[in-house]
Symmetry: C2
């Protein structure tokens, strides 16, 4: 890594829906938008092998700019550390500019999108020393900085796109799951905020064996439904016994929003990540539009503002926007 | 059901491997042999709508012949009860002859095979009032008589054949999972006995959240590997965090048998049902033969006798042998 072909890379990584009802910490998928942008560039004022956060926009000044406390910073530091461990230390200093395109604490994988965009840009800038799968591990380190847990169910699809299974964490084992062509996502983001850490703390440390059996049955069922394009099976599998019973109360009008989705024809619905966003999986774009509007109305009838989106489930993941 | 076309049906149901390492209570598959046979016939000496066990062979006199305590009897009674509930009560009395083709307490789904063969024969005799999926529920009731729990991970594949996911129990939701053509099973049955009830009692009532996450990741991973014919993923997914840590000690030389399978090229190995049988999933018949021999040798070096078999994973389930 004596010379670089590039000096500056700007990358995008999308919002993601993690957990997907029956796959706590193991399932996630990318949506088309929104997403975060990160620009990484060679900066002679930064010591070789180090990184700093040059700027953060779109966060209302709330994110830490200290590199070791910023999710994107931590992810890039993990990448630089891995280069060093491989005896290929980076001979350049890097600066990172972040542009948030989605709200914090929305349950849409905001921190993962920042981390994914930043490591994707850094990896590209440095000549792509790492495969995308490895970048997920770096981004997951960024997640640890954000919420205390290195989960990869947002970072995986934010980088790889599509629907991703995190089969295991040690070592990280990611599996891309095919998605039936008519499967769409209805997504609403009530204008409230849920702290990922608080949402995790709300969960029990132990679960009854019956819950474990039911959860593994549903997660296996969802994968089978996705592979077989069995929409009925997909719907029946979208049962959340692990998080929803404890997190529903953190989310404004959750029961009404979920009910609105189901009544409007959704296959199933659940909390996106740790909320307050709520997703539904739907067969067909028209039904997805209808579900989205019904879910949005259910939020707004409680007096809260709400963004709503319809998205494919097979979106691309992180990608370069510009490079020079 | 005023007249019957048949008066006597003899049916076979195969042995099954349940749990399959990462799918406690949700996964099972049928093997080619051994299996149990049941003959069900119209018996004028039995009151209409009732059933009795006429004889049991091959069990060394150990199985109860009281119909309400025999797994096959309970299954047939559940079928008769369902007919009654549907206002189509059976106008005949039935007798059941059981012929055990496999040992009790072997971990090969012995009780499920008897129940499956009996309900399959009874259903055929009565003009097939129920679909196979429904028969699984009746056979699962037989399992409850045998071990106190109405699990369906043996009864499902014993009736349907192939690899079966029990997505949920209430109501029962069975999913057939396709199996890659080169996938084989190596199976050994050490000549020891494990009580299913004792094996269930050995398990904790609660599991840490991390175990739940890992188990659902592996069960989703195994389904993905089976659908995608990804043998590596199948192997990596065969991790048992729920039963093996507590049941391994109940099984003679378990660690050595498992090690022998892995060293001989198995993708993965685990306890078949509640043991003491041990299975391995293997790519290719030749490797399966080699694994089976190595596993058998590992059992026998401990001074215990052992049966060993190689089987496909896509075997047929219950079937009629003769009818008149």
């Amino acid at each position: 890594m004596d010379e670089l072909q590039l000096s500056r890379v700007r990358a995008f990584a999308p919002a993601t829906v993690a957990n997907v009802a029956c796959g706590f910490d193991i399932f996630g998928f990318a949506v088309d938008s929104p997403g975060d942008e990160a620009t990484v560039y060679v900066d002679a004022s930064v010591p070789a092998g180090e990184a700093r956060i040059a700027s953060v926009k779109g966060d209302g000044g709330r994110l830490p700019v200290e590199v070791s406390r910023n999710t994107a910073g931590v992810a890039v530091l993990a990448l630089l550390e891995a280069l060093k461990a491989a005896d290929r230390p980076c001979r350049f200093g890097l600066s990172i500019e972040l542009e948030k395109g989605m709200p914090l604490g929305s349950g849409l994988g905001s921190s993962a999108a920042s981390a994914a965009a930043a490591v994707f840009a850094a990896n590209r800038l440095l000549g792509e020393p790492f495969a995308e799968e490895r970048l997920v591990a770096f981004a997951a380190e960024g997640e640890r900085a954000a919420c205390g847990s290195a989960h990869a169910d947002n970072a995986g699809p934010a980088l790889l796109g599509g629907f991703v299974l995190v089969r295991a964490y040690e070592p990280l084992d990611l599996v891309r799951i095919p998605v039936p062509t008519e499967l769409w996502c209805a997504l609403v983001h009530p204008h409230a905020e849920v702290s990922t850490k608080e949402a995790r703390d709300a969960l029990p440390a132990q679960y009854p064996r019956a819950t474990l059996v039911a959860q593994s049955g549903n997660s296996a069922g969802l994968v089978a439904g996705l592979f077989a394009s069995d929409y009925g099976l997909i719907g029946r599998s979208l049962v959340d016994l692990v998080a929803e019973p404890w997190r529903a109360r953190l989310i404004p009008r959750y029961a009404q929003v979920k009910e609105a989705a189901l009544v409007s024809g959704a296959l199933g619905a659940g909390i996106s990540g740790s909320g307050p966003s709520v997703f539904a999986l739907v067969r067909g774009r028209d039904t997805a539009e209808r579900c989205t509007q019904a879910m949005k109305a259910a939020v707004e009838s409680g007096g809260l503002g709400c963004d709503a989106r319809v998205s494919r489930i097979m979106g691309t993941g992180a990608r370069v926007l510009t490079e020079e």
